[in-house]
Amino acid sequence: MPKVTFIQPDGMETVLETDTGTSVMRTAVSRGVPGIVAECGGSAMCATCHVYVEEPYLDGLPEISDVEDEMLDCTSSERCPNSRLSCQLKVASDIAVRLPETQV
């Protein structure tokens, strides 16, 4: 099973195995990893599941859709080139994401 690494703003790491096809957001929320609010439950409506994807894992991610792009303009913490909505990231292989300071 692929591994998802969540890195808190203070550097603390949580590594979780998850089924292929599960979203990064759902992996965090269902296992109680703090830092992802996901108010809309994965419908790309709330921008409270923002993550920064770590450099080595940026290649091979699905493209950012128009809707995700608009939502990323609405994140509470600054948008960076590696910003993604974790509800739109289905896990295909190992990935590491850094959590922002705030989500709301």
Partner: protein, 402 residues
């Protein structure tokens, strides 16, 4: 590997989910449906039903098999002419739906909603403080739950002051027409006819006040290539779905808080719980109880074969209390992590107004926490029976000002 066997044994239920008895108290029937099986048939209407969280979520997520363009009510648009031109959002499938939805998501963004917060909060504070100071018995529905959305929503859209009384009857009509042609459906059509005329007038390009949501939708729709009729129809979705739903959400929240004093005490002690209290209300009370889909092809769901053209009724409210998904599902707990419920739907048709609804709910409940010291029932609440919605007609309460 062989395919999973498709069994024919679908539980047949004799329940009528649109009867007065069911609509008054759906909860025990929901449990019966959940326990009957993952998929069941409602004999009376010849439709399938799903009431467990997993199956409801799966039907919501698979919009190619379970389509909306044949209507999200009992009536199948493939064989029956809809009573009004279908919604470009609710009653459409990708790719048409995708295009229409994108017109709106580009406008109703979290950033726009943040910019509304201060104004909404001021008005909620003003209203709640005034009603609490009045003393005596108040009606939680007309004095609060209707009053707040009816102030902020039409202003936000850019509607005139005159005629706003048409908003609630129109919404209630639309949601009734997703059910069978029962008493509620017929009466709703009668009462809504007058409201419909006013609503359609307000939806015309050029009518809403410049700067409001209405004008923004018209402009963005025009830019996307939609003609005047379609521009009007896009705005119509907001006037149909944007008022009764939030009114019921706020009314149900008041009812839950009055019935659970320890929960109200928690909210008073920490007004920052307001947003999660509203979320829990949407899970617990599900102001939108049900929606239908129609199968676009023969399919299989949890071992049950569904022919093409089957209507499938999703009991969102039952999924939101499925013990397979929720701990102590029948307890109203404002500290619960309620996110992930299906009260706003899920997937491509997920409620477009959900962030606005949350904002209204949060501002209202924050005001309640600030200005009200206690809230007690002062008589029997009266349920408003609607084929789709769950909410109150009246809620007698005694408030003590803080």
């Amino acid at each position: 590997m062989t395919a999973q066997p498709v069994t024919a044994a679908v539980p047949e239920l004799d329940l009528d989910p649109f009867s007065d008895e069911f609509l008054t108290d759906p909860w025990s029937a929901h449990e019966l449906m959940r326990e009957a099986g993952p998929v069941f048939r409602l004999q009376r209407y010849g439709v399938y039903g799903v009431a467990r969280f997993d199956e409801v979520a799966r039907v919501l997520a698979d919009h190619e098999t379970y389509v909306s363009s044949r209507g999200v009510g009992l009536s199948d648009f493939a064989t029956e002419k809809p009573w009004r031109p279908p919604s470009l959002l609710l009653e459409a499938d990708p790719p048409h739906h995708t295009k229409a939805r994108h017109v709106v998501t580009g406008i109703l963004t979290p950033n726009l909603l943040r910019s509304l917060k201060e104004g909404f909060q001021e008005r909620a504070d003003e209203l709640v403080a005034r009603v609490a100071a009045r003393g005596g018995v108040i009606d939680g529905v007309t004095d609060l739950a209707e009053a707040f959305p009816l102030q902020v929503f039409p202003d936000f859209v850019g509607l005139p002051e005159d005629g706003r009384e048409n908003l609630l009857p129109y919404g209630s009509m639309v949601f009734n027409t997703f059910g069978p042609r029962n008493r509620h459906f017929e009466r709703a059509l009668e009462r809504g006819a007058k409201a419909q005329e006013w609503i359609m007038e307000q939806c015309q390009p050029g009518v809403p006040v410049p700067g409001g949501l209405g004008e923004k939708i018209h402009t963005a729709a025009a830019e996307a290539g939609y003609g005047p009729d379609e521009q009007a129809r896009l705005l119509r979705s907001f006037l149909s779905a944007g008022v009764d739903t939030t009114v019921h959400g706020i009314g149900n929240a008041l009812q839950c808080l009055a019935a659970n004093p320890e929960q109200f005490a928690a909210l008073s002690g920490d007004p920052s719980l307001a947003r999660s209290a509203f979320e829990e209300t949407v899970r617990f009370s599900s102001p939108v109880q049900t929606f239908f889909r129609t199968t676009s092809r023969e399919t299989e769901l949890s071992g049950v074969a569904l022919p093409e053209g089957s209507k499938v009724l999703m009991f969102l409210a039952a999924a939101n209390r499925d013990p397979r998904r929720w701990e102590k599902p029948n307890e109203f707990d404002i500290r619960r992590k309620a996110a992930g419920h299906v009260g706003f739907g899920f997937g491509v048709h997920a409620c477009l107004g959900q962030m606005l609804a949350r904002l209204e709910g949060e501002c209202f409940l924050t005001a309640l926490a600030r200005h009200v010291a206690s809230i007690e029932p002062a008589g029997e609440p009266v349920q408003q029976l609607n084929n789709t919605l769950r909410g109150l007609d009246s809620l007698p309460l005694r408030l003590t000002a803080a």
